[in-house]
């Protein structure tokens, strides 16, 4: 029995987990940055956030 399907499946899962969490976190951070920039009053006053 060849082991390659098991190896391929485990590496695919690793890419899925790392990529999924990574892209998810990046998108969530970008969305939060945009929403905060749109409503933060300190931005208008030029104060550091």
């Amino acid at each position: 029995m060849t082991h390659l399907p098991f190896v391929a499946a485990s590496y695919s899962l690793a890419v899925l987990v790392l990529g999924g969490f990574g892209i998810g976190a990046w998108l969530r951070m970008g969305a939060a940055q945009r929403r905060l920039a749109a409503i933060d009053p300190r931005r208008d006053r030029g104060e550091p956030r």
Binding site: M1, T2, H3, L4, F6, V7, A9, S10, Y11, L13, A14, V17, L18, G20, F21, G22, A25, W26, R28, M29, A31, A32, Q33, R35, L36, I39, D40, P41, P48, R49
Partner: protein
């Protein structure tokens, strides 16, 4: 619903004057500035080292004389197993900071570590199962190591559910912290399960004190993969924590606006 203070202007008074303590990072503005600088230094090495470690393990590391190519699953399984336990330890430290010192960012950090740790634990179990089938002839055995890691996954899932189960988030953080601290007892059980019980899972090949039983041609890609996974875990948690801090500030501003109408 009560929202804990995270506004930089509100929390700046709580910082000890000139003190280099953990409470310096209770200020969300300071945390956002610092994490914004640190994040690229975590993310870029994480991607490079993970790709190098996994690529080396998959294409260039030698096959095992007994296990053949199935040994290549090790470069996914071992780093994810290490991070399943290390992530839970991080969750427990944040829970301790939250319960004892009421550190406002520790609550958020614990909430953000939970799903990431659960994902890496699920990856550890799935890759272990994919390794077990060709080697042991079974996808799963109720072996002490496998069972204790399954309990770890349930602890993560319990924490994820518990912190979101209350209308008052502070009560959720407290309940989640207690669960996380009680669950720490599982970490030494996972580590020493292969020594304390007669298990199908092999004992540790790499020890802190003794020499490794693994050849350097396999040890190096494993080491690089483990560092890459660790940096990736840290980068993901920091990015999620940055998003959570900003989302909390957005909610706070929206509540202030709603109250002023």
């Amino acid at each position: 619903m009560s929202v804990r203070p995270v506004d930089a202007a509100q929390t700046s008074n709580a910082i000890p004057a000139g003190g280099w303590s953990l409470h310096r990072f209770a200020n969300p503005g300071r945390f956002l500035r610092l994490s914004g600088k640190v994040l690229p230094w975590l993310t870029i090495p994480a991607i490079l080292l993970t790709v190098t470690g996994l690529g080396w393990g998959l294409f260039f590391a030698p096959a095992d004389w007994q296990q053949g190519d199935a040994v290549r699953i090790m470069y996914v399984h071992v780093p994810s197993a290490w991070l399943a336990s290390a992530g839970y330890f991080g969750l427990a430290v944040c829970s301790l900071l939250s319960l004892v010192w009421r550190h406002p960012l520790a609550d958020l950090a614990a909430v953000e570590i939970g799903p990431v740790g659960a994902g890496f634990t699920a990856l550890c179990l799935a890759s272990g199962s994919l390794w077990g089938k060709p080697m042991w002839g079974a996808w799963w055995v109720w072996d002490a190591r496998l069972t204790s890691v399954l309990v770890l996954l349930f602890l993560y899932l319990g924490h994820i559910v518990l912190v979101r189960a209350f209308d008052d988030p502070v009560r959720g953080y407290r309940a989640g912290s207690i669960l996380a601290l009680v669950g720490v007892v599982n970490l030494p059980i996972i580590k020493f399960s292969v020594d304390w019980w007669n298990t199908l899972h092999q004992p540790a090949s790499i020890t802190f004190m003794g020499s490794s039983t693994m050849d350097a041609s396999m040890l190096w890609p494993l080491f690089i993969s483990a560092i890459g996974f660790t940096l990736a875990f840290a980068a993901i948690v920091v990015a999620r924590l940055r998003a959570a801090v900003m989302e909390r500030r957005i909610r706070g501003l929206q509540m202030v606006r709603a109250g002023s109408r």
